[in-house]
């Protein structure tokens, strides 16, 4: 007959788990009070207004302005992600291959704009891109163009400024991933007679793909919710989903209409994360491990 003897190590482990839980509980409480409850309350308002109603969702799924906005938002996010990748990859690669001091300098330059307000940066782009802006005046001075180019108050201006703001979110995960690729592998490739471009294409690039996926997901998802750049630089025509949210508050004078849009966007983001997490651990995107 076997009597169950309590395993002391198991007991210890349980106590440790309890302690851990107690330690994180203040943080959990803050998240609960400041994020879960308000967001839950907003979501509740989207289906409850003097009784249950799906009116807000009916509108989102049947009126074509919502589809246009969601489609435009995805197009812009895709464009921003691709451009950020093309610009960010070489920067991260450079930061990874130069001596430590230089890489710190490069990364500081990447992160530096973080300390400037998004609003200020959007206005700076306005000063650069508008008809009487620096770029148009310079091009006219060089006689490259006779009429100013329409660089802003449209989707183009929105994309440019958004790429600028989101670029660090691409460079940092890329750099973190590249850092972990052992340099020996490249040397091994070279010693076996592969040209530098071949070692890059066959060894380095595939190994950096998790970073590419992490950076792209980060930039894409953040871009989906962008508000300031399309509002200031979109000329009124570039209506992204976040602007639809704010406009719905004004139009319908109740939060439900707006929160239905927000809930649909949130579900879209969660779906993206769910799909991406099949290929790469989410820790890697969010924690940049």
């Amino acid at each position: 007959m076997v009597t169950s003897v309590p395993d002391p190590s198991q007991k210890h482990q349980r106590r440790e788990h309890g302690l851990m839980l107690a330690l994180v509980s203040p943080a959990l409480l803050v998240i609960l009070l400041l994020i879960v409850l308000p967001v839950g309350w907003l979501a509740w308002q989207s289906i409850y207004h003097d009784g249950f109603t799906l009116e807000n969702y009916r509108r989102v799924f049947t009126e074509d302005i919502y589809w246009r906005s969601f489609a435009l938002t995805f197009e812009i996010s895709l464009a921003v992600t691709l451009i950020a990748l093309l610009l960010g990859y070489p920067v991260a690669y450079l930061a990874n291959s130069v001596p430590k001091g230089w890489s710190i300098l490069i990364l500081s330059l990447v992160v530096l704009p973080f300390w400037t307000s998004v609003l200020v940066r959007a206005y700076a782009w306005l000063a650069l891109l508008q008809r009487t802006g620096v770029i148009n005046q310079f091009l006219r001075y060089l006689d490259v163009i006779s009429e100013p180019l329409a660089l802003v108050h449209n989707t183009f201006g929105t994309v440019v400024a958004t790429v600028h703001i989101l670029l660090p979110f691409m460079v940092l995960p890329l750099y973190a991933t590249m850092q972990k690729i052992p340099g020996d592998l490249m040397q091994a490739g070279a010693s076996l007679g592969a040209s530098p471009s071949l070692t890059f294409a066959r060894v380095f690039l595939p190994l950096s793909l998790p970073g590419v996926l992490a950076g792209c997901t980060m930039v894409f998802v953040l871009c989906l919710g962008f508000y300031i750049t399309p509002e200031l630089l979109g000329g009124g025509r570039t209506v992204m989903v976040s602007m639809l949210v704010s406009r719905n508050v004004e139009l319908y004078n109740q939060f439900g209409a707006a929160s239905a849009v927000a809930v649909v966007l949130l579900l879209g983001v969660l779906l993206i994360f769910a799909i991406v997490s099949r290929f790469i651990s989410l820790d890697r995107i969010l924690g940049q491990k």
Binding site: A150, L232, G235, G236, V239, L251, N253
Partner: protein
């Protein structure tokens, strides 16, 4: 909707602190406006003199957009504000939804003496501004556009254009461009207005969303003509930009005073309302800021000099050239439908 600068939440918080520390005067009210230079101007011209004359304490609060606060305060059953200065449309909508007190004009003789179009059962006009046709004098040194029909005429007046990304006043301008007389606009022919807007849409460079943006567009020469609020254009002109505007076919808009339903100091609030639209106090407002008095009688006092009066949107001769906005129409179901239609117009 807020065209005035505002100090936002900070001011609202200060106001709330002011509330609790205010001396226990015999009578007091809490007055709410939109903050910034605009509220400061009122304090000098209207609020302080009114408080002195009535022997009451006026506690001030400010908020850029009063509507959500009105809803929650009255909804809670215990509002803390008494009198609110807010775009007239909100007073009317609030009145319909039982959030705003109906006014007894026998107790407000100063308002009763105002033209009927300047008040509603729930509100009294407090100050006027105008959505005007503004243009660059660099692009149009002479033969400048002078009507909405000119604004729509891209052949005769080539140049880049901006309109506000909002149906209010924009639909009115479209109808005037299509030949409707300024005093025959309401009820708006919404289909006709949107059809006319489709016509100009390809030529609109920017649909602006904030007053600051409209000023920047004009100041930087980003557009050659646009619809803008008169105070914004005159501010840019004062800074030295070669821009000006015409009151011809402007759309005269107002903010109004109204009293929250179940306001804690209802009787004093009514007394204040009467005092606030007193012609002399009202005449002092435009000496402090570029907005016109809500009470046209202010122009009959000798406080406003004729040169100054001629610059103001509600000066009788200027007002006669403009269309007076019907907030009653905009808060009607047809008006609300037109507002919703705007979103799909913009995205097509």
């Amino acid at each position: 909707m807020t065209m005035k600068q505002n100090l936002g939440l900070g001011c609202a918080l200060l106001g709330a602190i002011g509330l609790t520390t205010a001396a226990d005067a015999a009578e007091q009210i809490t007055f709410v406006s939109q903050g910034g230079a605009y509220q400061q101007a009122q304090t000098v011209a209207i609020l302080d003199p009114s408080a002195k004359k009535l022997g009451i304490t006026i506690n001030q609060d400010s908020i850029p957009d009063a509507w959500p606060a009105i809803k929650t305060q009255v909804g809670s059953g215990k509002p803390i504000w008494d009198v609110v200065d807010t775009p007239t449309g909100y007073c009317l909508r609030g009145g319909e939804q039982g959030l705003i007190e109906k006014l007894d004009f026998s107790k407000i003789p100063n308002a009763a003496a105002m033209p009927e179009a300047y008040r509603s059962p729930y509100s009294v006009s407090y100050e006027f501004y105008s959505s005007v046709l503004a243009f660059s004098q660099k692009t149009f040194p002479k033969d400048a556009p002078n009507s909405w029909a000119d604004f729509w005429d891209v052949k005769k007046f080539p140049g880049r254009r901006a309109l506000r990304n909002h149906p209010i006043a924009t639909l009115e301008a479209a109808l005037m461009a299509d030949g409707v007389a300024p005093d025959k606009l309401y009820p708006l022919d919404v289909d006709r207005a949107f059809k006319k807007l489709e016509e100009i849409k390809p030529n609109i460079t920017v649909w602006w969303t904030s007053g600051a943006q409209s000023a920047q567009l004009l100041n930087d020469g980003e557009v050659d003509m646009e619809m803008a609020w008169n105070g914004r254009v005159s501010a840019v002109a004062k800074e030295g930009a070669k821009v000006t505007f015409t009151y011809n076919q402007g759309i005269l808009q107002s903010t109004s005073l109204c009293i929250l339903k179940g306001a804690p100091n209802l009787d004093t609030a009514v007394k204040f309302l009467n005092e606030a639209v007193d012609p002399v106090h009202q005449a002092n407002l435009p000496l402090n800021i570029d907005y016109g008095p809500g009470n046209p009688k202010a122009f009959e006092t000798s406080v406003i000099k004729p040169e100054r009066a001629a610059q103001l949107p509600s000066e009788p001769a200027n007002a006669a050239k403009q269309a007076l906005m019907s907030y009653a129409w905009w808060s009607s179901p047809a008006g609300e439908a037109a507002e919703k239609r705007w979103a799909s117009f913009m995205q097509k």
